[in-house]
């Protein structure tokens, strides 16, 4: 199909439900795919929209009952586009008015629909550029629209102002997308990142599904990225040059951390209640003291904890105690170190190595984030009071987010708080998850930009699309995405929902494109 090809005309529609387009006989219904970009030339305005559904129509219902003899090519050719025709459902989302003032303003959200029989065309490269802008200091090229070569750019400055989500079934390319987003933020310097890297795939190279080696952030931006590890041995085996080994002291664990682990540690409500009592009595060393208790008789006076609850709690705490990165006396303060790096504008990736156990992940991510958030909060408040520069925007990337943000714990965890209060303290989240239905709907609705790969569970799709206008249309687009390298982006950082074929990642050329020209020389050897 050629660019800017005429597809058909608008025959009906409404602002709420989108418009119906009758296809010309020259345009084959089989060439139309959901997610493609079209422009509609109204009488005064130009509309941009996306194909959200494709259907077949006949002028005479009896055709469906007694189908004509289409084995005859002549008959088939005659009835195509006349008696039988294809229809498209297009949901217009942006509009440009013809006058000069609105040309300068650029595309605006639609408040009306094109008039009857307006011409519908495939969007041209220029149209897409007009809508998504070109790559510059703020915009990052994330992928190309379906069947087009134009670049779709994300406005990263807008992106980091709110919490965002990357969703998709396992194996649909979430990790690649997240890597791309992180690279974008690094490249444009819009924010510093703290990545809780559960599967150790963002810092140093890993293998993709085809077994190809893929470089990661530290290799591409060595001076801007620091790799912290919880599992020194694993990192050493993978030949990762780490900057810091994280050790956490027992005394750093607070009752809130345990409360969050209630489900994973299988603790009762009473046991969690007991944690608060115990920490109140024992102070900083409560964890070790509690584990060392031989029974309820050894409890300090005044504490009323049931035998069963104590045993339940001790069992849970023992699980935590077995985590090798927890030590009775941490040599260095991990939070302080991370903040030092972040203050210098260096992005921190925390590898979990072999500790991919969800208990470790939740514990560490929550513990560190709570403190970092507190420090950011102080910094921000100071900035307001003393009119100094606020801390750099921080984006915290978490995986398996439904474990932190499910409706039961979202109100308790720091992540729930960050997701809700958004950018007030310059800290936002990048949530990576495969089960968005597990995430609290309040948190989901607060997310600025959602990037989602294929999802097929009805509940997951529903939850990703909460709070989106014309939800049902995007739904059909979302469930028809290809299982690889395709994503639907919608929300704050893009002017309209768009399906992209994700930018290539993994080839020598792709790495080259990420690196700013000046530093290219220094790391040329990387792709030799």
């Amino acid at each position: 199909m050629t660019e800017n090809q005429r597809l058909g005309i608008v025959v009906s529609g409404s602002l709420g439900k989108g418009v119906e387009v009758r296809l010309d006989s020259s345009a084959s219904v089989e060439d139309m795919v959901v997610g493609r970009f079209v422009t509609i030339e109204g009488q005064k305005r130009r509309f941009f929209g996306m194909i959200t559904d494709v259907s077949l129509g006949v002028t005479d219902p009896s055709l469906t009952v007694v189908p004509p003899d289409v084995s005859d090519p002549f008959i088939a050719e005659v009835i195509a586009g006349t008696s039988t025709f294809g229809t498209l459902h297009v949901s217009p989302s942006l509009v440009i008015s013809g006058d000069v003032a609105s040309m300068l303003e650029g595309p605006q959200p639609v408040k009306t629909i094109p008039s009857h029989f307006s011409e519908v065309r495939l969007a041209s490269q220029r149209d897409v550029e007009l809508v998504f802008g070109t790559e510059d200091e703020k915009r990052f090229f994330i992928g190309t629209p379906l069947d087009m070569e134009t670049k779709v750019c994300l406005n990263l400055e807008e992106l980091v102002k709110r919490s965002n989500g990357v969703f998709g079934k396992s194996g649909t390319g979430k990790t690649f997308l997240t890597r791309l987003l992180l690279i974008g933020m690094l490249q444009k310097g819009t924010a510093v990142n703290l990545v809780f890297d559960m599967h150790s795939e963002y810092g140093w190279e890993s293998r993709d599904e085809r077994g190809r080696r893929v470089k990661a952030l530290k290799q591409l931006f060595s001076s801007q990225v620091a790799v912290f590890t919880l599992d020194e041995e694993s990192s050493r085996r993978r030949k990762v040059s780490t900057d810091f080994v994280v050790r956490i002291g027992y005394d750093e664990i607070e009752p809130e951390d345990i409360a969050l682990l209630r489900q994973t540690l299988n603790l009762t409500e009473l046991a969690v209640e007991a944690v608060y009592q115990l920490s109140g009595r024992f102070g900083k060393s409560w964890l070790q003291d509690t584990v060392n208790l031989k029974g309820t008789e050894e409890l300090p006076e005044g504490l009323n904890i049931h035998e069963g609850s104590l045993q339940n709690l001790q069992r849970g705490l023992a699980t935590i105690g077995r985590l090798p990165f927890l030590v009775s006396d941490a040599p260095d303060n991990a939070v302080k170190r991370i903040l030092e790096y972040l203050d210098r504008g260096i992005n921190v990736i925390l590898e979990f190595g072999r500790y991919t156990d969800i208990t470790a992940y939740i514990l560490v991510a929550n513990l560190l984030t709570r403190r970092i958030h507190a420090r950011y909060r102080e910094g921000m408040e100071r900035a307001i009071g003393e009119a100094t520069a606020p801390p750099r925007p921080l984006v915290i990337t978490i995986e398996e987010a439904h474990r932190f943000l499910n409706p039961e714990v979202a109100s308790q965890t720091i992540f729930g708080t960050i997701a809700r209060e958004m950018r007030k303290y310059n800290v936002t989240l990048l949530v990576v998850d495969q089960r968005p239905s597990g995430i609290d709907s309040e948190v989901m609705s607060q997310m600025g930009t959602k990037i989602t790969c294929l999802l097929d569970d009805e509940r997951d799709i529903d939850s990703v699309l909460t709070g989106v206008p014309n939800k049902s249309e995007l739904k059909s687009v979302l469930s028809k995405l290809e299982s690889k390298q395709q994503a639907l982006i919608f929300g704050h950082a893009v002017p309209m929902p768009v399906v992209v074929r994700t930018r290539e990642y993994g080839s020598a050329q792709s790495y080259k494109d990420f690196i700013p020209k000046e530093v290219e020389k220094d790391i040329e050897k990387l792709w030799e």
């Binding site: 002028t59 055709l63 004509p68 008959i75 006349t82 008696s83």
Partner: protein
Amino acid sequence: MIEASTTGFVAQCYELYQIPSLGSLVKTKDQSLELYGIVYNAATTSLEPGRRPIARGKEEKTEEGIYQTSPQLLKLLKSEFGAVVVGHKQDKKLYHYLPPTPARIHSFVYLCSPEEVKEFSQSFDFLNILLNARLPVSTEELISACIRQMSQAYEDRHAFLVAAGKELAILLSGNLNQLKAILGGIKP
């Protein structure tokens, strides 16, 4: 031209059996007006309405022989054809609708040249007149004959037939059987 009305005319041929084919485009001139018609019917009958021809040629070997031995036959019989008016040309501009006045008796009727057929068939608006005309022949037959005839003027017959078929499919969107019959008649 021996009979004329707003919607059609009847012409008699100068020579017996020199009848244009069914569905061909003919024209007649009338001062500034040129009328176009589609031949829908033709007949060869006796000159006198009450006198029917009788069977001849029992002794003859060929049909030609009959006319040779009885040359008066050519003068006693006549060939006529009827055409339905489908458009006109005024001041060199073609209109695919009925002319303001009918043709005049004794005006000459010509068969259109391929160039004229091409020019006229740039628009398929005349199909609608044919579809709605009340004629002794079936509309389906007439239209398919007409389109077949016209297509001969084109080098790319197939494209013309498809274009005509599409126009018919739109006009006959509510009448599938009629459409099927016509398409069956024009398919290459």
